[in-house]
């Protein structure tokens, strides 16, 4: 077991003081008048023996852990894991590591996560917040800790945030279905308080009402048995024969909804139009391929990390920014009746 060496060992080997070593390690050598020769000597020795400073000691001393806490609803969700990857990519270049936690969109779980992250002295937080977490986040901010929220708004709280225009995304999706001749569109959404879902619902409602129609909304409880969700959607479809299009508020709902539609033997596109909020790699492979509202994941990540780095490096007070990004509609075949367009 090769003994881990400390700055003290290095200093002793080199017959200099810990201070000198520390200075060159932190790039403060020149400004503190350490000779070039000395710097080279230290650097090359460190390189040779593969010394790397102990982050815990550094952290204890400086109060900085060089780690960021990321909290999302569920890290196994493709949307969030793709984002996690992107964050990793960007933050690694800045010398940060990420520790993650899944909130399950549950306030208490999130509170506990925040506590744990605090104990770990994370330098900043990236959070897709559940409802009811305002107070805790406010406390964080008041303590001067950088917090960036994304994906879900936290109204009533002045905090850096990066959101997507859920309202317009849903509006456009609905409008697109209407434009393609579908008249009775049902929106299948989650029975939950997630603010971004409410925005999507609002966009749908607004659009339908403007067109003189009557909104129809089916709410499904999240992560109850898959079979239950499928059965509920199937039931709705059977009881509402006039329904000729479905707008799924999330990928997860589409997964079950598409099965329900199959069970009802309704031909997608011709008999029933389909649009899903959030894209999936697989959608283009369906027959017919599935139209989706996609979120600008790259942009979300760069905006979030930019805000975060700004806060981490901030010298003076800066006012929180709220960034809203547009969604992108990817029109495929599930929302275009065959008589109007070729099928893939």
């Amino acid at each position: 077991m090769k003994k881990k060496l400390s700055i003290k060992d290095i200093a002793e080997q080199l017959n200099v003081s810990k201070t000198t070593v520390s200075f060159v390690l932190n790039g403060k050598a020149s400004e503190n008048g350490v000779s070039q020769a000395m710097q080279r000597k230290v650097l090359s020795y460190i390189e040779k023996v593969g010394y790397r400073p102990n982050k815990m000691a550094q952290g204890l001393r400086t109060g900085k852990s060089k780690t960021i806490g990321m909290m999302v609803e569920d890290i196994s969700d493709t949307f969030f894991s793709t984002i996690a990857r992107k964050f990793e990519e960007i933050l690694t270049t800045k010398g940060y590591k990420i520790i993650y936690g899944s909130t399950e969109n549950n306030t208490d779980v999130t509170k506990e996560l925040i506590r744990v992250f605090r104990n770990h002295q994370v330098d900043g937080y990236i959070i897709a917040p559940p409802p009811g977490i305002e107070e805790d986040i406010k406390a964080l901010i008041e303590d001067g800790v950088p917090v960036i929220i994304f994906d879900r708004p936290l109204t009533e709280l002045d905090v850096d945030s990066v959101l997507v225009d859920n309202y317009r995304g849903a509006y456009k999706a609905t409008q697109h279905l209407l434009a393609n001749g579908y008249k009775n569109i049902v929106m299948v959404t989650l029975l939950s308080e997630q603010t971004q879902m409410r925005e999507r619902e609002r966009g749908y409602r607004q659009c339908v009402e403007e067109a003189g129609g009557k909104p129809a909304i089916l709410k499904i409880r999240y992560h109850e048995k898959k079979e239950k969700a499928i059965a509920d959607i199937e039931q709705y479809l059977k009881n509402n024969r006039k329904t000729d299009a479905v707008f799924f508020a999330t990928n997860y709902l589409a997964e079950n909804g598409l099965e329900a539609i199959a069970n009802c033997k309704l031909a997608i596109a011709d008999r029933i139009g389909v649009v899903v909020f959030d894209d999936s790699n697989w959608f283009r492979l369906f027959k017919p391929s599935i139209t989706a509202i996609s979120q600008p994941i790259e942009a979300i990540c760069t905006e979030v990390t930019n805000l975060l780095m700004e806060r981490l490096e901030q010298k003076k007070e800066i006012a929180p920014k709220a960034i809203v990004l547009p969604t992108n509609m990817i029109i495929r075949n599930s929302s275009v009746p065959v008589k109007k367009a070729g099928r893939t």
Copy 2:
């Protein structure tokens, strides 16, 4: 900005020593003869003011960070993100947090990740190793750090590992296709040194050869342009008209391969059978639904964490264990000609 309190503050407020507080905090109160009354007093005060010990200081002192380093090829891959979630679930109950890193299946990236994780003093490693990383992992183990590898074997190295029987999984998949009347099966796999891929290839070869056939293997470079992968597969299909079944070695390849098949206008199941290694939530929704070899994710995670906890709590030397889990074939419609079975 509410000042963070330390154990010293607590001790002063309570008029006791830091030791006493520390003992009750660490459940060593009784064994060190701290009175029940005292324990309750400390506990309730701590609860009241919401004190929580600073992990960095604890870590520096004890040499334990209570964090685990997880390295996988790509955290945004569904397989790995699902696993990340499960690890989180289990390790949280044990008081550990996870920091993650994506290796891109690249040796140098992984080496650097290991260095960074070491600096962060992670208490243990969970690694899906890239090729050529044996030496570094060996060094870790010799330093007494718990390392569990999974997903990919590291031959020549005696280390705790949890793997899936890739050979048998591929063998069974091939056998299943043969049994359903497909005669010319091509395996589409990655042009890479990943050991688990070689095992899958071996399973396929063995089965085809036993049946007196001639193996046909198409290798695709990972993560080159999607279009290139699609074109390559399409090309193969066009040049080999006799091919009547495809066995995709991973989900990622299936994503492109299914598009190639669609482009060639080959009817899945009837004209061309399809089986994919690794399942996806979406496969049951395809028409026809896609047959897949699924990995026992739950089992992998519990085995890995069990091994890890064993190491973390180990008193005496224990010999490394190699655990191999069976895969599960989920027969859907893409591998069963219609004349033999009903379509969904």
